[in-house]
Point group: C2
Chain length 362, copies 2
């Protein structure tokens, strides 16, 4: 799996000079020991072959930097810090240090950061930034760096990953609302180019169908990002089209759910009196919100711990086939969802599955 | 200011061999071109002199890695992400990448991480982890790495820093409570080995005295950390000793303030009905809390932007005397503070200063 790294000896062979000359030419401090034309030629060949000038990087096989790069899409989303804590603690116990970077949900940022980390001596990468099609992930695989995806996965390629069972989580949220008597249920989702956005949306469509609910497709709107602003936008769109034709919202993430609170406030409606809202992630502080948020709990620490362990495993055994670990979410009840009055509860036509069942994420 | 870096030539002189031999001996790939006794000797000398084996690191003067290490004490404190965003954006505009690390408020962690970053090729460091006496800061200064402290400063040594005017902020909170009629005011502070913990505490003592309030010293309790748990502990201690003898609390940080909410709940009291609580930092989401938190706003983005700019300035001009930039906080009103009924308001004996005035932090 690991791409063979270009060594000084490869550069020497391609340049037609001795390895020690290459070594001098590539080192800022010793370059003046070599004639300028030779130095220029060696540098050109090294560049062409893709030689990484950092000797620690080219010495990766035999020498560990004991540094792991961790890339997250949005540090201001409070769900990530407790995940990162789990990563850091597990890596520290194994003698590794995590360096974090925040891509601000920008693929070019992610690319720059990963290039930077690869050019230095990280022993592996944990990416929470994956898109379903992701050139950054492709690049890491091509480079051969030990890699673990967390939370999100890519389509088609097998990459080691630790994720939540998104399908199961959405079913939990939906069945909680059904149990409270809600039948007209809207959905506010995330970007469809991420696995979490895509599979949570598919899960909502599949689960409502299985439960015999008739959900107008325009009652399920996906935002451009997992953010409060997009949650508000999406629910406003639904409110503008459907008015009060729904009594509950399944949001695909807690920030989206907070945005739903804002949309309701903007329309003079109240949560949960007028509309119940459930979130996803159980990010810190949601129990302190007004109202406290009903949400799908994901095991933050365990996500971090398992991804770090999986990465350490891949560093030791890079040739092993990549594994995906899927963790089970659970329901956390807050004040943002409430039972409909009995007179408002309509029977469901189909019996439905009755209980959330695990399903493959992809 | 910058410590002279040990070069290959220094190692060569001290080992009594040619620089090219040192170069070969220090490089994993070329070491076998040198006899083992010579290689061992060179490595021992290099270690003794403190030669950094990474050539990019020893080439710092002429070559930039364009990577900045950013160390924060607690990633789960939501005040840090928006500060980090300001840092990252400013660094990115200058072509630099930030690598973050979280010390989990542990000085040994901070030490390990900084060692790791120094051994790699970071061009500078931004530390939010400083203790008033801090061997990690000492180490950075000794190393000569461009350094900026953010939020917290050290005693005695002059280090470039971007901080809040803590004294001014505490006065704002106190005077807000005075204006609402509160006279019996407790204080829940942070660790006294940090400048923020120490100067906010001193500010409370000084400002209450200037305003003619008689504050029993045991009504001001400092926690071991800036955390919800410690906030709760401290206020429970005050409640156990003084019962309901106070009507308001100045907390030295928002997490401490949330802990105060918990302490009041644990004693069957309500905020703000029984006790008003004000925080410090204006961390994200406090406006969504129940009750929303009255707090001292610090300019998060500006803290990040200014610290990144100051660091870039120090990288360009490392010999310039270090500057401290002090930013002005402001008051954000939430639902956690309320006016006392007029009949409960006692006159203040002294006129006090009437208005929060800027004061030196140290």
């Amino acid at each position: 799996m690991r791409k063979t790294l270009i060594t000084i000896k490869d550069v020497a062979a391609a340049s037609g000079v001795h390895a020690s000359t290459v070594s001098r030419a590539l080192n800022d401090e010793t370059r003046d020991m070599v004639s300028k034309p030779v130095a220029d030629k060696v540098l050109a060949v090294a560049r062409k072959l893709g030689y990484l000038r950092n000797p620690l990087a080219s010495g990766l096989r035999t020498r560990r930097s004991h540094t792991i790069g961790v890339l997250i899409p949005d540090l201001t989303n409070p769900v990530f810090p407790p995940i990162i804590r789990g990563i850091e603690r597990t890596l520290a116990a194994a003698g590794y240090v995590a360096v974090l970077a925040d891509s601000d949900s920008d693929e070019r940022n992610a690319h720059t950061i990963v290039e930077n980390l690869l050019g230095r001596q990280v022993d592996g990468l944990i990416l929470a930034t994956a898109y379903r099609k992701d050139p950054v992930v492709d690049k890491c695989i091509e480079h051969g760096i030990p890699l673990v995806l967390i939370n999100r996965v890519v389509d088609k390629i097998r990459v080691a990953a630790v994720v939540n069972d998104d399908d199961f989580g959405i079913r939990l949220a939906l069945e909680h609302l059904l149990a409270l008597g809600h039948r007209q249920i809207a959905f506010v989702g995330g970007p469809q180019n991420t696995s979490t956005g895509y599979y949570r949306y598919l899960a909502f469509l599949a689960a409502t169908k299985e439960h015999g609910l008739k959900i107008d497709r325009s009652m399920a709107v996906n935002g451009k990002s997992f953010s409060e602003a997009e949650g508000k936008n999406c629910l406003l769109k639904i409110l503008d089209e459907h008015g009060k034709r729904f009594t509950a919202v399944v949001a695909a993430n807690d920030l989206l759910a907070l945005g739903c609170f804002d949309a309701l406030t903007a329309r003079g409606m109240r949560c949960p009196d007028d509309v119940s809202v459930s979130g996803f992630n159980h990010m810190p502080f949601v129990d302190r919100f007004s109202p406290s948020l009903t949400t799908v709990h994901i095991p933050h620490d365990e996500l971090g711990v398992q991804s770090a362990k999986l990465l350490l495993e891949r560093i030791r055994n890079p040739e092993d086939p990549p594994r995906t670990i899927k963790l089970k979410p659970s329901m956390v009840l807050g004040g943002s969802t409430r039972a409909l009055a009995a007179r408002d509860v309509r029977p469901i036509k189909s019996a439905g599955s009755g209980k959330a069942r695990p399903r493959a994420v992809s």
